[in-house]
Symmetry: C2
Subunit: 137 residues, 2 copies
Amino acid sequence: MSNSDSKISFEHIISKLKFNEQGLIPAIAQQYDSREILMMAWMNSDAVQETLSTGQVCYFSRSRQKLWRKGESSGQIQSLKQFRIDCDQDTILLLVDQVGVACHTGRRTCFFEEVGSDGEITIIADIEIAPDELYRK
Amino acid sequence: MSNSDSKISFEHIISKLKFNEQGLIPAIAQQYDSREILMMAWMNSDAVQETLSTGQVCYFSRSRQKLWRKGESSGQIQSLKQFRIDCDQDTILLLVDQVGVACHTGRRTCFFEEVGSDGEITIIADIEIAPDELYRK
């Protein structure tokens, strides 16, 4: 999903969404074909507008307090395939095509810790790219 | 996933999790076999303990400010198959077996509005159970 006319405004979509008191809304990223859940992060209104108009996923970094163009430094970009909104308009689901890995640990998914019924934690995803390779310029 | 010994404490899991300033953490529910994303809701520490110890998903309702045993009034329960935590320990992923429909609108998933590249919204999931049937006692 991409849009060659970057002048399209998505203001009517943004006005439908319920941002929290920090002006943010959670966005779940799911690999569009395998349906694996990759990560969850947050968007502000500018991130929603940029994601919809460019077709490349952009979040808002709560720690850095600025737009976070996913893959900008690591190269592990997410191309938008579908943009969905839930029934309460307070959560976004992004179907994406993830290049490489979504997680800063070098794993495909951020959800790599599984809690068993006995309370034990098992790591269920391997490191595919060493973290220091991910952020080398 | 279920646990016959309801006395197991998951305090060490709860202490790992990063709850927000309201004492809540987002939890994504995904159908374990089809991998469809059903909904996102919130849990407090009691909801995490109850979900892990009973094997039936329990959220915290922000509007009602109390534990929300999913399906308690509608019968549309979620049986827990896997409980996963993300790399930042601030989001939970639940792989579940959803009875019937997840959404209060009577749709299988809450994520039924798709935003096209032209900004148009398309409804992509049908109503499977009429809402007034869902909550009839």
